[in-house]
């Protein structure tokens, strides 16, 4: 019963955020085509417009959700006799619940996009999946399989994004002020100063390797979304495992 | 009824003594209800176990009795029983000391009796 309650508490914590997010995305999807159609009708000049990869916004949004959901819940859980183990377990359920919810929202947008495409001239809608894997043979560009593939891919992606945000916030909670500053500043210096500079001197080898790695792990050249899903799953598992190692010993700080 | 935490008597004894005094002065009447353990503990800010201990002395002495689910009552005949008990104590606590002190001061038997007479008339 207590586990249900802390699950519910964490989920409710995101309810308003999710509702507002969905409302904004929906407004954009409806407003932009409407605006384009209206102005085109006035000017009588037709251009093609592409709305693509709006699912990425969900990934960013859920990353942020993960990023803000640890400290208060952790303290509240301990106040109410909930163990770290139960908090962590229910957090996983929350993560999957939110990922599936926003995935279903994306599928709804896909339907809406198809409807907009059909009822307007020159406006096309494409999902994140079909943007990354446009030429795939495995992927059917329409029909139930398109929905199924989108569902699997997005669920995994959104889970991974949240898990990453959660890991970062847990790690920051575990650090004292000095460590926090060191890590944050160190991260920026490493990725935005040192690596780019070295990269410059060795004629872009680092970025080449990184891009190659990204390409391989996401199966972009191979145009196989299942390689991407697999890699994202592995990534989410590693991130979640690391989070557990950090939560396991977390204490209330003074 | 007053509780003095610096008194050398333990608190539960003070509780018992205090209730006895109240019965003797008629503040608590025979067969009448007395405050519950909770009320006693609350008003003197003492642990209920302490209050219970004080009450138990009186229950054992037959001064008060408990009615399950109703409360605690002063036993009929409690006043006379208390008077008897207190009279014995009166001799020990007051008369013995009085005579001891009188001997120290060289007050004679007659003088004491005279003083007692005077005490009653004043």
């Amino acid at each position: 019963m207590k586990q249900n309650t802390i699950y519910k508490y964490q989920l409710l914590d995101h309810r308003n955020g999710v509702l507002i997010f969905c409302a904004i995305i929906l407004a954009i999807i409806i407003f932009i085509p409407a605006q384009i159609t209206y102005s085109e009708a006035l000017s009588k000049s037709y251009e093609s417009t592409r709305i693509a990869g709006i699912d990425m916004a969900s990934a960013v949004f859920l990353f942020i959700c993960g990023l803000v959901s640890f400290k208060e819940c952790f303290l509240f859980a301990l106040q109410n006799g909930i163990s770290r183990k139960s908090l962590f377990k229910t957090r996983l359920y929350v993560t999957v619940t939110l990922a599936v919810t926003l995935t279903l929202f994306s599928l709804f947008l896909l339907t809406l996009g198809a409807f907009i495409e059909a009822s307007s001239t020159g406006i096309s809608y494409s999902s994140l999946l079909s943007m990354i894997y446009p030429a795939t043979g495995i992927l059917q560009s329409s029909g139930p399989f398109e929905y199924l593939n989108n569902f699997l891919f997005l669920t995994v992606l959104l889970t991974a994004a949240q898990a990453l945000g959660y890991l970062i916030t847990v790690a920051l909670y575990r650090m004292n002020r000095k460590q926090k500053i060191t890590y944050i500043v160190g991260f920026y210096i490493l990725f935005f100063v040192i690596l780019p500079v070295i990269d410059m001197f060795i004629s872009g080898q680092i970025s080449t390797i990184l891009l190659k790695f990204l390409d391989l792990s996401m199966g972009i050249s191979a145009q196989n979304p299942f390689i991407g899903m697999f890699s994202l799953t592995i990534f989410a598992i590693i991130v979640t495992g690391s989070t557990w190692l950090l939560i396991r010993n977390a204490e209330v700080k003074n | 009824m007053q509780i003095n935490f610096e008194d050398e008597r333990p608190i539960f004894v003070q509780i018992a003594d205090g209730i006895e005094d109240a019965i003797l002065t008629g503040a608590f009447e025979e067969s009448g209800q007395i405050p519950s353990i909770t009320e006693l503990s609350v008003s003197y800010k003492i642990n209920p176990a302490t209050a219970l201990k004080g009450i138990s002395i009186l229950v054992d002495d037959g001064i008060i009795f408990k009615k399950r689910g109703v409360g605690m009552f002063v036993a009929p005949g409690a006043v006379s029983r208390l008077r008897g008990k207190r009279k014995e104590l009166f001799f020990d606590h007051y008369i013995k000391k009085l005579i001891e002190e009188a001997k120290k001061l060289g007050i004679t038997h007659e003088e004491i009796l005279g003083m007692v007479e005077r005490g009653y008339t004043e």
């Binding site: 019963m1 109410n80 163990s83 | 050398e8 333990p10 800010k45 209920p48």
Partner: protein, 284 residues
């Protein structure tokens, strides 16, 4: 009901030894006073019992169950801590409702009734309350939660005399209607001395005193008289403290007293928990 057992618990924060091999038992259905000066380790101990901190060493059991990472065991305990662990935007009402979901015996009506008595507006956000009302909110929750173990860490912090009085009254009422195990950590000893059945005094992370209040206070007495009288009387007795006021001297003595040897002019009194505490925990 086995109470709460602390076995050989040690806790360090960096170089600071907060608790040093502490072992003790909190008896079921009794009111315990956990006394100690600031930084003695009271809060650390309470936080370890409630799984908010981990002991470096040693174990805590609640009714025989391990208290570490155990939802079931922790469901029997409520700690009102000095530090506020409720979310920033939560109102008192919301907190009551959530508490009801976490602790099934939480009495919502009673809580709201207490809120009225204390004039706490339950629609207010917890974080916006003054120190005193923050304590009141936590007191109300702790008194309404009805877990077998309720731990109070500095419950009367910032409370005025009237509200403190109300708290003590409610605590006794609650306790005598339905006895539970209470641990009260406080430095306002005088006010609760007579409520306590057990006294635990903790000093520099170690248990100095752990016994029933009655036994503790009957271990000694204090004598007051002229300096000469008192000095003569306490010769060859164990004196743990002395106060001189003008020509009058009070000595706190450990040991039992033989009243027949009491010289004239000397008054004896019971030990006073607060004074005893100060004597025992003084650094010199």
């Amino acid at each position: 009901m086995n109470g709460i057992q602390i076995n050989d618990v040690t806790k360090t924060f960096g170089d600071t030894l907060a608790l040093n091999q502490v072992s003790l038992t909190f008896e079921p259905h009794k009111i315990h006073g956990l006394l100690g000066r600031n930084g003695a380790g009271k809060s650390t101990l309470l936080n370890i019992i409630t799984n908010r901190l981990f002991a470096d060493n040693g174990t805590v059991t609640i009714d025989g169950l391990s208290g570490t990472e155990n939802d079931h065991a922790q469901g029997m305990i409520y700690l009102m801590s000095e530090k506020n662990l409720y979310p920033e935007s939560m109102t008192c009402n919301e907190a009551f409702k959530w508490t009801k979901q976490f602790f099934k015996d939480f009495d919502l009506d009673y809580a709201l009734n207490l809120a009225r008595q204390f004039k706490l507006d339950p629609k207010k956000k917890i974080q916006s309350l003054s120190t005193g009302y923050n304590s009141i909110f936590k007191i109300i929750t702790a008194l309404s939660v009805n877990t077998p173990y309720v731990l109070f860490d500095e419950p009367v912090l910032g409370l005025d005399a009237n509200h403190r009085e109300m708290f003590y009254r409610l605590l006794i009422e609650k306790y005598s209607n339905n006895p539970f195990t209470a641990i009260i950590s406080t430095h306002l000893i005088e006010e609760i001395a007579n409520l306590l059945e057990y006294v635990i005094i903790i000093k520099n992370g170690e248990i100095l005193v752990n016994e029933s209040c009655e036994a503790l206070l009957s271990k000694g007495y204090s004598v007051t008289g002229t300096i000469n009288q008192v000095d003569t009387f306490v010769k060859d007795k164990e004196v743990i403290g002395e106060d001189v006021l003008g020509g009058l001297k009070t000595a706190t003595v450990i040991g039992s007293i033989n009243k027949s040897t009491l010289p004239d002019g000397i008054e004896i009194a019971n030990l006073d928990l607060q004074k005893l505490f100060i004597k025992l925990t003084n650094e010199e």
